[in-house]
């Protein structure tokens, strides 16, 4: 929220006289303008002292507001953006790639939901190692439960390549240096770090980020939910929209995990439930297959694919 005084430096029309007029109508910040009827305000301006200048000021604020929202794009411009900037990243697991018709899309928020030991973290680690190794980009990994395992990544890398040891070591060096892991233990730290990441991306300090993984997001949000208050939900939705903005505006693939908790009548349900459902683009349900010691993945939601499709058992 910017007070109107801040606008004066850039736009001299927003002078003390104009601000006094605004204050008399209860407008102190530019957000107050948004909930005000500007036509009625213009009417009031016409009655007062120096109406022309006040009307000019209102017009100026309106044009400032116009820059606040994102531009209107037509369908062709959208298609062009999608073709140029939104690539599909392979996860490194062939079955997931086939299921998702190529892999994970940049600009999407992908949620993995499943009970414990259903390979959520394994899919995250695998995707991180594959993206870091094959797309020359940075992977940011927010680890909330100390489950990030560099050893496992080395394992993935040495399994997937059939080159000599020196070359494998070189790839490991390169992949390890492009995965940045942060330990995060509460939602406020997470929001803070997302803010920082957004600022870095905005000022183009860090433009090589290809993927952002939060394992697990639900363990940060679930503690603040419940109790009948609204703040837990507000924090959850704020974090969700933050992730969507990061994903879309900076062409990052965001992957989060969601654990399962016991629900009514013993049926387990996702820890982030109804109000979270509208946040992710893609929801994948991982369930354990005890007979073959692997997991299978079902599409719960996808913008292009029909729901209910699933992979055969996959071992990671």
């Amino acid at each position: 929220m910017a007070p109107l005084e801040d606008l004066e430096r850039e736009y001299p029309i927003v002078d003390s006289n104009f601000r006094l007029f605004c204050a008399s109508h209860g407008i102190f910040t530019d957000e107050d303008f948004l909930v005000h009827d500007l036509y009625a305000l213009e009417g009031f301006a016409g009655q007062g002292y120096a109406p022309e200048k006040l009307k000019q000021g209102i017009k100026q604020v309106l044009s400032i507001i116009e820059n606040r929202h994102r531009p209107w794009l037509n369908g062709l411009e959208l298609l062009e953006d999608a073709h140029l900037n939104k690539r599909t990243l392979s996860t490194g697991c062939e079955r997931i790639d086939v299921l998702l018709q190529g892999g994970l899309r940049e600009g999407h928020v992908i949620e993995l939901v499943g009970p414990s030991s259903s390979c959520k973290t394994q899919v995250c680690l695998k995707a991180a190692s594959h993206v870091a190794g094959n797309y020359l980009g940075k992977v940011i990994y927010f680890d909330t439960g100390n489950s990030f395992s560099p050893k496992r990544i080395v394992q993935f890398l040495s399994l997937s390549s059939d080159h000599s040891t020196t070359e494998v070591n070189k790839t490991i060096q390169q992949v390890m240096s492009s995965i940045v892991c942060h330990s995060v233990f509460d939602i406020f730290t997470l929001l803070n770090m997302l803010h920082q990441l957004m600022n870095d991306l905005k000022s183009q300090i860090d433009c090589q980020v290809k993927m952002l993984i939060i394992d697990s997001l639900s363990s940060l949000i679930a503690p603040v939910l419940g109790g009948g208050g609204t703040h837990g939900h507000a924090l959850m939705v704020t974090a969700g929209f933050f992730l969507k903005e990061l994903a879309h505006e900076y062409n990052i693939c965001v992957m989060v995990t969601n654990h399962m908790v016991g629900g009514e009548a013993g049926v387990s349900k996702p820890a982030l439930g109804e109000s979270w459902k509208s946040i992710p683009h893609v929801r994948l349900l991982l369930s354990r297959n005890y007979s073959s010691n692997g997991s299978f993945i079902t599409v719960l939601k996808h913008p292009c694919l029909a729901t209910g499709k699933s992979t055969e058992s996959l071992v990671i």
């Binding site: 209860g26 994102r70 209107w72 037509n74 939601k301 029909a306």
Partner: protein, 319 residues
Amino acid sequence: MTSAFSWIKADETAAQALVRILTERPFLVLPAPLHRLPLRVGNVVEVVGPSPSAKTLILIQAAINCILPKEWKGVHYGGLERAVMFIDLDCRFDVSSLSRALQRRIIEANGLRSSLKGNVNEIDKELFAACMGRFLYTRCYNSFEFLATLKTLHHRLQQEKEKRGSAVYMLLIDSIGAFYWMDRALPSSSTGNNNRKSLSLQTVVETVVHEIQRLMAVHPILVLATKSAAFGDKQSTTEVIRKRSDEKMLASRGPQNTSHRDFMPSVWQSFVSHRLLLRTSDGISKHQNHPTFSTEWLLPSLKSSEHFTVDDDGVLVTI
């Protein structure tokens, strides 16, 4: 005297008025499941349903009907050739789903003709580009961006009208309750200043309704909005249950004991002129492994209910 006479003189004849209204406010047949009722400009239609229930897909299908021309190079498409504006509050719109659905519609319309002529149908690039150009899109990540978009929409609509020669026909909002929880937690900053409007869910929604109303007074548009049927916070839910426990006991014997509970402020609820409820229907056997949905018009309430499913290609199929 002359001025008084000119005042009571007729502005236009009925025939002229009819021609004007038919060009300014043409009637568009919307695809299923919105086809039951005649929806015209000036209506505010709300599509309510759980996630996922193909709400966005319904909006996209409606948009395609609007952006396609009525006829193009001798092929009948049955569209309006008017622009649509899509405000994405959920930020999940995927342009490829629009382009694929549009391509499929063009092929289908051509298929009728090419089966007679026997030539291989290929998509007319020019037609496709013209249609995509009529689809305008913006996204908002919070209520203030949404308000800023609405505040400046009047200018934008006018620009489009001048540029294209025809006005925007439809405003699509997906989905209206996206910022509900964020707005409920807005800090109340009104302390000390009595005449300052406090920023809250109530004022934000009031302003949204007010701005759309003002737009509709000047520009004849049809508003289609989706809303996810989430439930409010637990406290109010239990209150409602307590209050309604007696009613519910009676109602539970009936076929539908799950009533739709609106969480948006009443100012939005009363602004809506038509409301369509979507449900996942488990009673009916799954249609080739795809979940089926049932529709019900709540406002105005219609007895008939329809079922549809979404197939692998993302096409709505009514059953």
